[in-house]
C-alpha cells in the first residue's frame, strides 16, 4: 500500500507516541491514528497496556524489546555498537536523547528523528538542504530501521498479540514500507 507524505508523517508520530507510552491513557490516545479512528474504552485500554508491557516493557523478559541493538548485534544486548551509531547520527542532527537511562535506539526515539527530518524536509525550499535531509532520512530508514524492524515485528507477531495489537503492528509495518518507498 502506498501512503501519502502527510499521512506517513502523522503515522510516524502516532507510532512514536504509542511506543513511548507509559500508561493506558497515552496508548489509547495514539490508537485512533493507528487503527482507522478506532477509540478504546477504559477496560480495553487497560488490557492493551498489560499486553504492551508483556510484549515490550516487562518486568518479565519480553519477547520483542523495542531497541535496535537487540536485533542488530551479533549477540543481542542493550547499548551495543548500533546504539552508539544511532547516538552519533542524532548528534549529527544536533540532537540527543533526554537524560536518563533509556538507550538511544529505543524505537520511539528513532521514529521521532525520522519525523523531524521529514517534517523539515517537507517545508524546506532549498534543493541542497532537501537533498541533505533526504540522505539523512534515507540512512535512518534503509540502513538502520529497515534492518531491525522486520525482526522486531516478527517476534511480536509470534507472541500471540491481540487483534488490536496485531493491527497496530501492521500499521508499523505499513509505515516502514511507506518510509522505505518515500526515500
Amino acid at each position: 500500500m502506498s501512503l501519502n507524505a502527510d499521512h506517513t508523517l502523522s503515522l510516524a508520530m502516532a507510532l512514536r507516541d504509542f511506543f513511548s507510552a507509559g500508561c493506558a491513557t497515552e496508548m489509547a490516545d495514539a490508537v485512533p491514528a493507528l487503527c482507522a479512528g478506532r477509540t478504546l474504552g477504559e477496560d480495553e485500554a487497560r488490557e492493551l497496556e498489560y499486553e504492551f508491557n508483556r510484549l515490550f516493557v516487562g518486568p518479565q523478559a519480553v519477547p520483542a524489546p523495542p531497541f535496535a541493538s537487540i536485533y542488530l548485534e551479533k549477540e543481542p544486548q542493550l547499548m551495543g555498537r548500533s546504539t552508539l551509531e544511532v547516538r552519533e547520527f542524532y548528534l549529527g542532527l544536533g540532537l540527543a536523547v533526554p537524560e536518563g537511562g533509556v538507550p538511544d535506539d529505543f524505537l520511539p526515539y528513532e521514529l521521532d528523528a525520522w519525523a523531524r527530518l521529514f517534517m523539515v524536509e517537507l517545508g524546506e525550499e532549498s534543493d541542497e538542504a532537501r537533498q541533505t535531509l533526504h540522505e539523512a532520512r534515507e540512512w535512518l530508514v534503509q540502513e538502520h530501521m529497515a534492518r531491525w524492524l522486520p525482526a522486531f515485528l516478527e517476534r511480536a507477531a509470534q507472541s500471540s498479540p491481540s487483534p488490536l495489537m496485531a493491527d497496530i503492528l501492521k500499521t508499523l509495518e505499513n509505515w516502514l514500507h511507506a518510509a522505505k518507498e518515500n526515500v
Binding site: M13, R16, D17, S20, G22, C23, R46, E49, Y50, N53, R54, V57, G58, P59, Q60, A61, V62, P65, F67, I70, E75, P76, Q77, L78, M79, G80, T83, L84, E85, E88, F89, Y90, L91, G92, L93, G94, L95, A96, V97, P98, G100, G101, V102, P108, Y109, D112, A113, A115, R116, L117, M119, V120, G123, E124, A129, T132, E135, W139, L140, E143
Partner: protein, 749 residues
C-alpha cells in the same frame, strides 16, 4: 552497512535546520537539542573505574571497569590485588552482559489482577512510593505499630551502603525482620564456642601450608581465586586432600580424595583426633597452655571413638584415616579449610567443632599456613551510617530486648524499650504463616530471592497468599517478582557507589559508579530516600530517612579512622588507585593465642555451648535420619550464584539446562537411563528434570545444582524442607538450615 556521512559541513547544516527551531513545531517530540559539549567518539577515551563484586562469594573481587561513551565495555580483575590478580570468574566476566541484558527490570511496576496474573502496569517512582507509603501508614493505623511490615534481605547485593535497606526499615519504625542466614551460621557459632570468634588466616598464606585439607568446599567453582594458593602450595611440596560427598572439580585437582558419607564428617574428624592421641601426636604446648578441657576431650575420645568406628560411619578406610592423620601431624604447618557445605546439617555445628578440635590438637591454630579456616569479619568495621537509623518519635514495637539481627549486624542492640520483631529467615514460609499480633501484612524484599532460595517452595507459595502487599527490589524477573505486587528496579554495582570487603580475604575495594543507571533503576538508599519523601509528604515525621541522598557522599560516610588505619590508607580516594589489603601483624589469625572465649583459651570444652543446649565437648552427633531412599544435595554451580547469572544468554550457552546427577548403579535399579526425564520427589514437592549418570556421586545420593533458568520452572527448593541445623542462633539470630540433610525418591517419567 553504510555509515551516515558525517562530513562536517553537512552535519553542521543539518544541525542548523533541526535544532535551531526548524523542527520546533514537531508536536510531542522526544529528542532534545544535544548539549554543545557532547562530542565523544574518541576511540582512545576509555575511562577506568574501580568496582567490587558484591556477590555473596568468597572472592569479593576487585574489578577494573572500562567505560567508553558512557557504556561499560569490559571488566577485568584488578591486577593490584594479589588475591584477585587480574582475573574474574566466568560470572564476573559476564557482568557487561548482565547490565545490558534486555531482560532487566526497567521501571517501577505494579501487578494488577493478582500475583502471578502477569498484568503489569508501569508506575512512576512517585506513584509507586505513594502506594507503598499509603499501605505502611494503613498498617500503622490498624495495628498501632509497624510490626506487620516485614523485611527479608540477605546477600544478593553486598556493599556496606546497601545496609541502608535495614536503615530504611528502622527509619520507619519497629518492624519484623527475617534474621539469621541460610549460609554459614552453624559453623560461626561452632567457631565462637571453640575460639571465641570466627577469624580465619589470610587465604594467601595457604602457600605456606605443607598439608591442606579442603573439607566440604569446592573452591574450583566457588572460590576460583583461592585455587592458585593450593596450586602453589602443591608446587612447593604440599599435599592436598579434598573431603566431599561429591567428586568435585576441586577433588579432581587434589592428591587424595575422600568421598565421605554425607553428614559423617564429624565422626571422621573425631577418628582422626583419636589417632593423634594414640600416636602421641598431640601438640602438648597448645593443649596444656593455650586450651581448656583437653583432658576431658581426650577422655571422651578414648571412651567413645575408635578409628574403626570412624571408618565405619564415614566410609573412609581406617588405614587411610591413620595415614592421613599421621601425615597431617608431621607436616607443619597444616591447615583445614572448613567449607560451608559441610555444616548445612542437623549436626553441622557439632561437626565443625570436631574439625576445629582436630586442628587445635595438631598444633596448627595461630600458625601461618595453618588454621581451621572458616571465614572472618575482621575487616568489616565500617560506620554503618546507612544502616543505623533512628525510629520516628513515638514508634511502638516489640516489647523486650532485641537479639542479633544476623552476622552482619554491626549496629549492636540498644536497650530501647521496643525492638524489631525477629523471625527466622530459614523458615520464611512458616514464620509468615505463624506471625500473630500483629500478622505479617506486608513484605519488603531486597537483595534476596526467597522463591529461589528459601526452603519449601510450596509452603512459601501458601504463605505469600497471606500477605496483603509484597514489594520486591530487583534487577531481573525472578519467581519472587512474579509473586510480588510491586517491583522496583534496582541498580547494579556499576550504577551505584559502594565499598566492599570479604569474609575470606583481607582486601578492601572501592565501588565507583561507572555508568548512569540504566532505565529507571535506583540504588537501595535512593529508594529509601524516595520512600521517605512520600511518607513525610503524607504524614510529616513518619520516616527519619534522609529525603535526598548522594550515593558518593553516603559511601564516604562509611569510612572511619579504624578502617583507614587497618588498611594503611589516608583516604578512601587512595582506593581509586587500586584495592588495599589490611596490614596484618601476621597472616595467621589467633597468632597471639589470645582467644575470645570466656576462658581466653581455646575451649575443647565450652560451658557456653552446654548452656546453649549442646554438648560441652565436640562430641559425635548423628546426622538427620533418612526419610526417603536417596539423600539429596543441592550445592552451588559454577555458572551461577544462587539465582544470579544463569538467566543470561551467555551462561545458558554453557549451561543450558539442569540435571539430576545419579550413580549408574542406582539409575539402573530405578530403570533410569542417561538423559531420561525423571521426577525427583518428597513429601513436600517434586522437581522434573533430566538425569545424568555419573560415578561422581554416591549410590544413595542425588545431586541437583541450585540455579534459576529463565525459561524453565526448575527449582530445587520444591524438595528442600526447612529443617534447622543445630547451631547458629547465638551469633546470627537463628539456627542454620540443614540444606544437605534432604531426602527424596526418584522415578522415570
Amino acid at each position: 552497512m553504510k555509515r551516515f556521512d558525517h562530513d562536517s559541513g553537512r552535519r553542521g547544516f543539518l544541525k542548523g535546520l533541526l535544532s535551531l527551531g526548524a523542527a520546533g513545531a514537531l508536536p510531542g517530540s522526544l529528542l532534545v537539542p544535544a548539549k554543545s559539549q557532547a562530542a565523544p567518539f574518541d576511540a582512545s577515551a576509555y575511562q577506568v573505574f574501580r568496582n567490587a563484586c558484591p556477590r555473596n562469594c568468597y572472592d569479593t573481587c576487585s574489578i577494573k571497569s572500562y567505560v567508553k561513551d558512557g557504556v561499560l565495555q569490559f571488566v577485568e580483575g584488578a591486577p593490584e590485588s594479589t588475591y584477585t590478580k587480574g582475573s574474574l570468574c566466568v560470572k564476573g566476566y559476564a557482568y557487561p552482559r548482565r547490565i545490558y541484558s534486555p531482560d532487566r527490570i526497567k521501571y517501577p511496576m505494579i501487578q494488577e489482577g493478582g500475583r502471578g496474573s502477569g498484568k503489569w502496569r508501569r508506575l512512576s517512582w512517585d506513584e509507586a512510593m505513594d502506594i507503598i507509603a499509603d499501605k505502611i501508614l494503613d498498617i500503622k493505623k490498624r495495628d498501632g505499630s509497624l510490626l506487620g511490615l516485614g523485611l527479608t534481605k540477605y546477600s544478593g547485593q553486598f556493599g556496606i551502603v546497601n545496609y541502608g535497606v535495614e536503615g530504611m526499615m528502622s527509619s520507619l519504625g519497629y518492624t519484623t525482620r527475617f534474621v539469621g542466614t541460610p549460609c554459614w551460621p552453624a559453623g560461626i557459632d561452632a567457631q565462637n564456642y571453640d575460639l571465641g570468634d570466627m577469624w580465619c588466616n589470610d587465604p594467601e598464606d595457604m602457600v605456606k601450608s605443607k598439608y591442606i585439607i579442603v573439607w566440604g568446599a569446592n573452591p574450583a567453582w566457588c572460590s576460583m581465586h583461592s585455587m592458585k594458593y593450593l596450586y602453589e602450595a602443591k608446587r612447593r611440596g604440599a599435599k592436598v586432600l579434598v573431603i566431599d560427598p561429591i567428586f568435585t572439580q576441586t577433588a579432581a585437582k587434589a592428591d587424595v580424595f575422600w568421598q565421605v558419607r554425607t553428614g559423617a564428617d564429624g565422626a571422621l574428624a573425631l577418628g582422626m583426633a583419636r589417632h593423634l592421641l594414640d600416636m602421641g601426636l598431640v601438640d602438648k604446648d597448645f593443649v596444656e597452655n593455650h586450651a581448656v578441657g583437653f583432658e576431658e576431650f581426650a577422655d571422651y575420645l578414648r571412651k567413645n571413638v575408635t578409628v574403626e568406628w570412624a571408618s565405619e560411619v564415614s566410609g573412609i578406610p581406617a588405614s587411610e584415616i591413620r595415614e592421613v592423620t599421621e601425615e597431617f601431624a608431621a607436616a607443619k604447618p597444616a591447615t583445614v579449610w572448613i567449607g560451608y557445605g559441610m555444616q548445612r546439617h542437623t549436626n553441622g555445628g557439632a561437626m565443625v567443632r570436631s574439625i576445629d578440635a582436630f586442628v587445635a590438637m595438631s598444633g596448627n591454630i595461630g600458625v601461618e599456613g595453618g588454621g581451621a579456616r572458616y571465614g572472618h569479619l575482621a575487616t568489616w568495621g565500617f560506620n554503618y551510617h546507612a544502616m543505623v537509623q533512628k525510629q520516628p518519635e513515638g514508634s511502638v514495637g516489640f516489647a523486650g530486648a532485641s537479639g542479633p539481627k544476623g552476622e552482619f549486624d554491626f549496629a549492636g542492640g540498644g536497650s530501647a524499650k521496643y525492638s524489631d520483631r525477629a523471625v527466622n529467615i530459614n523458615k520464611t514460609a512458616q514464620e509468615i504463616l505463624d506471625a500473630r499480633d500483629p500478622e505479617l501484612k506486608m513484605l519488603w524484599i531486597s537483595c534476596k530471592n526467597p522463591f529461589a532460595q528459601d526452603f519449601d517452595r510450596n509452603k512459601l507459595e501458601r504463605a505469600f497468599k497471606k500477605l496483603e502487599m509484597v514489594v520486591s527490589v530487583e534487577q531481573f524477573f525472578t519467581e519472587t517478582v512474579k509473586h510480588s505486587d510491586i517491583v522496583l528496579p534496582a541498580t547494579t554495582l556499576f550504577e551505584e557507589w559502594n565499598v566492599n570487603v570479604s569474609y575470606w580475604h583481607y582486601w578492601l575495594s572501592l565501588n565507583e559508579q561507572a555508568i548512569k543507571p540504566m532505565h529507571e533503576a535506583k540504588s537501595n538508599i535512593e529508594i529509601a530516600a524516595a520512600l521517605s519523601r512520600a511518607m513525610n509528604r503524607k504524614e510529616p515525621g513518619s520516616c527519619t530517612f534522609a529525603q535526598e541522598v548522594d550515593g558518593k557522599e553516603w559511601m564516604v560516610k562509611e569510612f572511619n579512622k579504624g578502617i583507614y588505619g587497618l588498611f594503611g590508607i589516608e583516604s578512601w580516594e587512595d582506593l581509586r588507585n587500586g584495592p588495599a589489603k589490611a596490614k596484618l601483624a601476621s597472616s595467621a589469625s589467633w597468632n597471639e593465642k589470645k582467644f575470645r572465649t570466656p576462658s581466653g583459651k581455646y575451649e575443647f570444652k565450652s560451658d557456653l555451648c552446654a548452656k546453649n543446649g549442646f554438648k560441652a565437648l565436640p562430641e559425635y552427633v548423628e546426622v538427620r535420619k533418612a526419610t526417603a531412599p536417596f539423600r539429596l544435595l543441592t550445592p552451588h554451580v559454577q555458572y551461577a550464584l544462587h539465582s544470579q547469572f544463569v538467566n543470561l544468554d551467555w551462561m545458558e550457552a554453557f549451561y543450558p539446562e539442569p540435571y539430576v546427577f545419579i550413580h549408574p548403579d542406582a539409575a539402573k535399579a530405578k530403570g533410569i537411563g542417561e538423559l531420561d526425564m525423571v521426577r525427583v520427589f518428597s513429601s513436600i514437592g517434586e522437581v522434573k528434570v533430566r538425569a545424568k549418570l555419573t560415578k561422581n556421586v554416591q549410590k544413595d545420593c542425588l545431586v541437583m545444582y541450585e540455579a534459576w533458568f529463565r525459561k524453565l520452572d526448575f527449582n530445587v527448593q520444591n524438595v528442600v524442607d526447612d529443617c534447622a541445623a543445630d547451631m547458629g542462633a547465638m551469633k546470627t539470630g537463628a539456627p542454620g538450615v540443614a540444606i544437605h540433610d534432604q531426602f527424596v525418591d526418584i522415578e522415570r517419567i
